[in-house]
């Protein structure tokens, strides 16, 4: 065989790097867990983990932090996945938050996210004593993530200190931690949004149908299209759900996820739309609009 044939495309090189990262964390940590958010990034991450340990099962469970306000399609997708052999799915909800009737309408996205996502995640990690949590975050998502490490160290309170991150060199990841501390591991660090979509297309991996355009009931709120996914949605005066052909670029809690009008109903069309539109990914996710640099603040508090 010629040397020239021994070339990897960028996608296969990213794949190899991610598999290396996942295996490294699984080998070096005592009790890892993969945070599974049901979205496209989690879907790619899960596929990479399956590749890392094939033909064996995943040596760690998946865990979904369920805020109770996710789209119904997401939950159905998750439940189907959980039936697959070799997959152990944990679902965790902050019951204190449920008891307080925590919801995105009465409390505002900031408070709600803190309680149902950030706090819930901390509780779940403490409950199961996980010392390593895989997350699907990418460095290209947001400016503050550009400096995030692949192995990101968290103290015993799950806090991230941007000034106290370990230098990360070569492929030599340092997963050493003391009792009570943990690492967040981001196997998709070097992937871009386009890489993720392309990989899903190349690998033919199913994703939640919400990513594809379809007629859905929506209202316009603060300039954003919000889907009325169930009867808990509180409509304001004058708001009347209308059927519109929309899709979602990012998925989260339905009252906080903005839809975009679209005809893209296949992966290539989604990619085409993305490339031609060139709008920042997080524009559709309301939580970032609260405050300048808000992702950085959330990360310090323990959110991914």
């Amino acid at each position: 065989m010629q040397i020239d044939a021994r070339k990897l495309t960028h996608l296969r090189e990213l794949e190899a790097e991610s598999i290396h990262i996942i295996r490294e964390a699984a080998a070096a940590c005592d009790k890892p867990v993969m945070l599974y958010s049901i979205g496209k990034d989690s879907t790619v991450m899960l596929r990479l983990a399956q590749k890392a340990f094939a033909p064996g099962p995943l040596p760690f469970p998946l865990m979904h932090i369920d805020t109770t306000w996710k789209f119904r399609d997401m939950i159905a997708f998750r439940n189907e996945l959980a039936k697959q052999p070799g997959i152990e799915m944990l679902v965790y909800t902050n019951q204190d938050g449920v008891a307080q009737n925590m919801n995105p309408f009465d409390y505002g996205s900031n408070k709600y996210t803190t309680v149902m996502k950030t706090e819930a995640l901390k509780q779940a990690l403490d409950k199961y004593k996980f010392d390593c949590a895989f997350g699907g975050a990418r460095r290209d998502e947001e400016k503050s993530r550009a400096k995030e490490r692949v192995f990101s160290f968290r103290d015993q309170y799950h806090q991230w200190d941007p000034k106290n991150q370990r230098p990360e060199l070569w492929r030599l990841y340092n997963a050493k931690i003391n009792q009570g501390e943990s690492v967040r591991v981001f196997p998709l660090s070097n992937w871009t949004e386009l890489d993720v979509w392309l990989y899903l297309w190349v690998e033919d991996v199913p994703v939640v149908p919400l990513y594809f355009a379809k007629e859905r009931p929506v209202v316009v709120r603060d300039g954003t299209l919000i889907m009325v996914d169930d009867d808990r949605m509180r409509l304001k005066d004058g708001e009347q759900p209308k059927m519109k052909r929309v899709r979602f670029r990012t998925l989260g809690c339905y009252p906080l996820s903005g839809a975009v009008p679209s005809d893209a109903d296949t992966l290539p069309k989604i990619i085409q739309e993305m490339l031609l539109n060139k709008f920042s990914e997080r524009q559709g996710r309301l939580i970032d609009f609260d405050e300048e640099g808000s992702m950085e603040l959330k990360k310090r508090e323990g959110y991914f």
Binding site: R6, L8, E13, A16, A52, P55, A146, K147, S280
Partner: protein, 610 residues
């Protein structure tokens, strides 16, 4: 970009089919706050269409610049804290793609912490892109950046002579800088060095060829990044397969998962396992998508062998004809990356491929003076220091010269207490004849090269305990009050917040007692001994084993008549009064508590109590 946009619009599937065959290139961009690096990166992102409209709008809003120029540097600014300080303090990674390649940029700041950051960004880079301000020429810092890039084994160097607009795009300025730089760079190890006359601010020769430099016939920076050949930079001739994870879903399947560090691994080929030295042949190279004809660097694969040989994480598969050097001791370039300086007394953890071993920086040969880039004598190593050192490990590592193999030549040093990554190392090969299999196996099965060493250095103990270990040795006649004084001293030290103990296995032989005293002193305790040591020889033995500088001998010189009265049955004749002692207390004249204070005062004077 337009032809590409056209294709996206017209035939997205064709575009995707083309896009997915792109190659990945990683480069590190180095420069100081003022030489325009952020602007250059911002320009690359902007001109390749990688900036989203809303980002651009935000940058336009935030741009403090007047007129039509956009402050591209704002596109690459990172954390809030940094924006406030107006500097970039850490390596940031950026991504963009053209129709030829996908790029990962390690964007490293050039200010005071530059070495740590640049080394981090450079460790995985194929190309180093450094900036020189055309007005100032080749400054010391440019040499430093090139030196580090070369040290980290980056094969290709791109030198952007920036701010050409401020020197009227003069050819002579560019040619002089090129000549000056080449003169220096000939001593470094780059495969090639390429120069570009650019203006990051105005966009000249970054993405589009500038009309203002008709005298320049070379490529633009982007052309270069798209075409510089990197596939041959990989080491594909020496197999290094560090086992990362053993996959054993059932009794019939035993696969060794890992990333091919270098070389190629194929079914049917003979491999040798380190450290066992056992041989087998490759049965299959598996992936999730099925077995493949061969695995090559940097693929992540799972290897099955034809024989049941014992292999676990940290072990390595190699070809018997191309062994790495199997060694516990090697020379290396070390870059110190932590505020806490190197402690040569301390054992660290060394992570090399998938192995973590205990090891020690035994000796600093010399430091590299980062101003002259010449060797300089070194007492110790501090943050951002680069040095040549000797490393010794408890177990053998399978290493290659870093220049030949970045995979098996690289290691990191981890502080075993804090778990911080404190240094990055690059193995310096011994040169000469390659080690044979017999020698390799001998090294593997020899005893440890160094005595097992504690992870905790005396300095760390001193900081934790607020004192340094000492043995307070009380000698005197039977009945002189040694034990009473010993326990009173222990109590008083404890009350003062110190950590002290009385060595009290009264019936042991003297040798065991001394061992116990030494162990407690090593642990950093104020160790109080009162057991009988009547002879000069006894005391000499103790001083030599515990270390004279750590022993405080107190002669408890109580009136012999009083001692005899207290212990009429004891034999006083065996006692040889000490000739050398640090303190004398006479317990028939001095109260016990006053004697205790005298001893404590002496310990303080000697610096033993912090």
């Amino acid at each position: 970009m337009t032809a590409e946009t056209e294709l996206i619009r017209e035939d997205i599937e064709a575009y995707l089919a083309k896009y997915q065959t792109k190659e990945l290139l990683r480069f590190v961009a180095v420069g100081s706050v003022d030489d325009g690096k952020s602007t250059l990166i911002g320009r690359l992102l902007f001109d390749t269409g990688m900036v989203y409209e809303d980002q651009l709008a935000a940058v336009r809003r935030a741009s403090s610049m007047e007129g039509e120029d956009i402050d591209f540097a704002l596109l690459t600014d990172g954390l809030k804290a940094e924006r406030e300080q107006g500097i970039t303090i850490d390596v940031a990674y950026r991504y963009f793609a053209t129709d030829k390649r996908k790029f990962i940029i390690a964007d490293t700041p050039g200010h005071i912490q530059y070495t740590r950051n640049m080394v981090t960004g450079a460790s995985t880079a194929d190309v180093a892109l450094i900036l020189i301000d055309a007005r100032y020429g080749v400054l010391q810092q440019s040499r430093r950046h090139a030196y580090i890039a070369s040290l980290l084994g980056i094969p290709h160097l791109a030198v952007c002579v920036n701010k050409m607009d401020l020197v009227d795009f003069g050819q002579k300025v560019f040619d002089d800088i090129t000549a000056d730089f080449n003169h220096f760079a000939s001593s470094l190890r780059f495969k090639d060095v390429t120069f570009f006359p650019v203006s990051a601010l105005k966009g000249d020769n970054i993405v589009t060829t500038s009309a203002k430099t008709p005298w320049y016939e070379g490529p633009t920076v982007l052309d270069y990044l798209e075409t510089v050949p990197i596939a041959d930079d990989r080491n594909l001739h020496e197999l290094r397969f560090p086992v990362q994870y053993v996959i054993r879903p059932n009794l019939d399947y035993r696969g060794f998962a890992g990333t091919v560090g270098s070389g190629v691994i194929k079914p049917g080929e003979e491999v040798l396992a380190l450290p066992s030295g056992k041989r087998s042949t490759v049965r299959a190279v598996d992936t999730f998508d099925g077995p493949i004809d061969e695995g090559f660097a940097p693929q992540s694969v799972t290897v099955r062998l034809n024989d049941e040989i014992d292999l676990s994480r940290g072990d390595m598969l190699v070809h018997p004809s191309a062994l790495p050097t199997v060694t516990r001791r090697f020379d290396a370039h070390l870059v110190w990356m932590h505020e806490r300086p190197l402690d040569t007394e301390k054992a660290y953890l060394i992570k090399h491929t998938t192995q973590v071993v205990r090891g020690q920086i035994e000796h600093i040969e010399h430091r590299v003076d980062m101003d002259t880039l010449e060797p300089a004598p070194a007492e110790g190593l501090e943050l951002n220091d680069v040095a040549r050192v000797r490393v010794s490990c408890h177990r053998a590592l399978y290493v290659d010269d870093y220049a030949d193999n970045r995979e098996t030549g690289a290691f990191i040093v981890i502080d075993s207490l804090t778990n911080n990554t404190v240094a990055a190392g690059m193995v310096i090969g011994k040169g000469g004849a390659r080690q044979g299999i017999e020698d390799a196996l001998k090294e593997l099965h020899a005893g440890s090269a160094i005595a097992p060493k504690t992870f905790v250095s005396p300095t760390e103990r001193r900081e934790r305990l607020g004192q340094s270990g000492a043995t307070v040795w009380l000698t005197g006649l039977p009945g002189s009050g040694r034990w009473t004084l010993a326990f009173a001293l222990e109590r008083r030290l404890f009350d003062l917040g110190h950590t002290a103990t009385v060595v009290d296995p009264r019936d042991e032989d003297l040798r065991s007692m001394i061992s116990a005293a030494k162990a407690a002193t090593d642990a950093g305790l104020i160790t109080i001994c009162a057991f009988p040591s009547p002879k000069h020889d006894d005391r000499a033995q103790l001083r030599s084993r515990v270390g004279a500088e750590r022993v405080v001998q107190v002669f408890v010189n109580t009136d012999p008549a009083l001692c005899r009265e207290r212990r009429p049955d004891a034999d006083q004749s065996a006692f040889e009064p000490p000739e050398h002692f640090e303190l004398e207390v006479r317990l028939h004249e001095t109260r016990i508590d006053a004697a205790v204070e005298q001893i404590i005062a002496l310990l303080r004077t000697r610096g033993q109590l912090g």
